[in-house]
């Protein structure tokens, strides 16, 4: 691989863009494709381009057969994102674990005493209100959003903004009773039951989590299970 292809790819990734690297496995010839990018020494026919487009839509790296032998189509999507509302104790642990799991983490808390650099090294912090920050972050289908403050004044506007986004996961900390009350408030704000059902509450898989670390594990496990539900479903279909 040429270093300029690699540098270009890393720059596109930092800019939040999807790129595709096509490699002819026989010769090692390569072509990097992306927004305004076509870099490399490989020439592709129309059928090959169509197959590459399908791989991009599926967001899945794969080999395809072509007249010039097997091509490896490597799809690189921007990093997964986790937006945490509430710079609370659990958020400190959750942010660290999520970074290890490959997420770009942003913490939102209008209370600047909570959202301090000292408490959250290496994480993006926003100290405005979530209903202002969240839409600006444009949560997409590779974004998970979790609210942790327990305070309706902060959590509710965040959840309303989250429900208007394409986020693949929305979770809210709080007991069943808290969650039921939350449902009533959001219904009053015009969100129907089906929309409210997008919120995972109480947040996280039920693994009896007690400590902040354990709660962070349960939340990250639930986010993973939703992210990878297609893999779980494929396995279940195969078994059936």
């Amino acid at each position: 691989m040429k270093i300029d292809l690699l540098e270009r790819r890393l720059a596109a990734q930092r800019a939040g863009q999807t790129t595709v690297l096509v490699t002819a496995l026989k010769t090692g010839g390569q072509l990097l494709l992306g927004e305004g990018i076509a870099l490399g020494d490989l020439t592709l026919g129309n059928e090959e381009r169509a197959a590459i487009n399908r791989a991009v839509i599926d967001d899945r790296s794969q080999t395809i057969d072509s007249p010039q032998g097997t091509l490896f189509v490597e799809v690189w999507s921007p990093p997964l994102r986790l937006i945490v509302v509430g710079a609370v104790h659990i958020a400190q642990t959750l942010a660290r674990m999520a970074v290890i799991a490959g997420y770009d983490v942003t913490i939102i808390d209008p209370r600047s005493a909570f959202a301090s650099e000292e408490r959250f090294p290496g994480v993006t912090l926003a100290t405005d209100w979530p209903d202002e920050v969240l839409p600006a972050l444009k949560p997409d289908k590779r974004t998970a959003i979790v609210t942790l403050t327990h305070d309706p004044k902060i959590d509710d506007p965040a959840l309303q903004a989250a429900l208007k986004s394409d986020a693949f996961y929305i979770g809210a900390l709080g007991s069943r009773r808290t969650h039921a009350k939350r449902g009533e408030r959001l219904a009053g704000a015009g969100f129907d039951a089906a929309t409210f059902a997008r919120i995972h509450g109480p947040v996280g898989l039920d693994i009896g989590a007690l400590t902040p670390g354990e709660i962070a594990v349960s939340i990250l496990a639930e986010i993973t299970a939703i992210l990878r539900r297609d893999r779980i479903k494929a396995r279940e279909d195969k078994a059936a």
């Binding site: 890393l10 490699t23 899945r60 790296s61 990093p79 490959g102």
Partner: protein, 106 residues
Amino acid sequence: MSDTDQILSEAADWHRSGRGVALATVVLTWGSSPRPVGSKLAVDDQGRFIGSVSGGCVEGAVVENALETIRTGAPKLLDFGVTDEQAWDVGLACGGKVQIFVERLS
């Protein structure tokens, strides 16, 4: 930053500092191979490596091949699997098969 980004950033740093570097990428898997397609291993000319293409089973053999690719510049396509005599030698005992593409960063 994702796993792959970290490995590739580091590989780019190695290259900039004048070290010979090869990248190994899982391009095809069958059965219960431990690392998915796209998993990467970066190797330098001293045999130092980061990342993973098999969870430990075939890394040693991949590093050896990567060192040769760094020397010759010629890419390689490596097959490891249980039906392959050589695979047993290097210990892919997890029951899967993987195909790994090795290329020099130049």
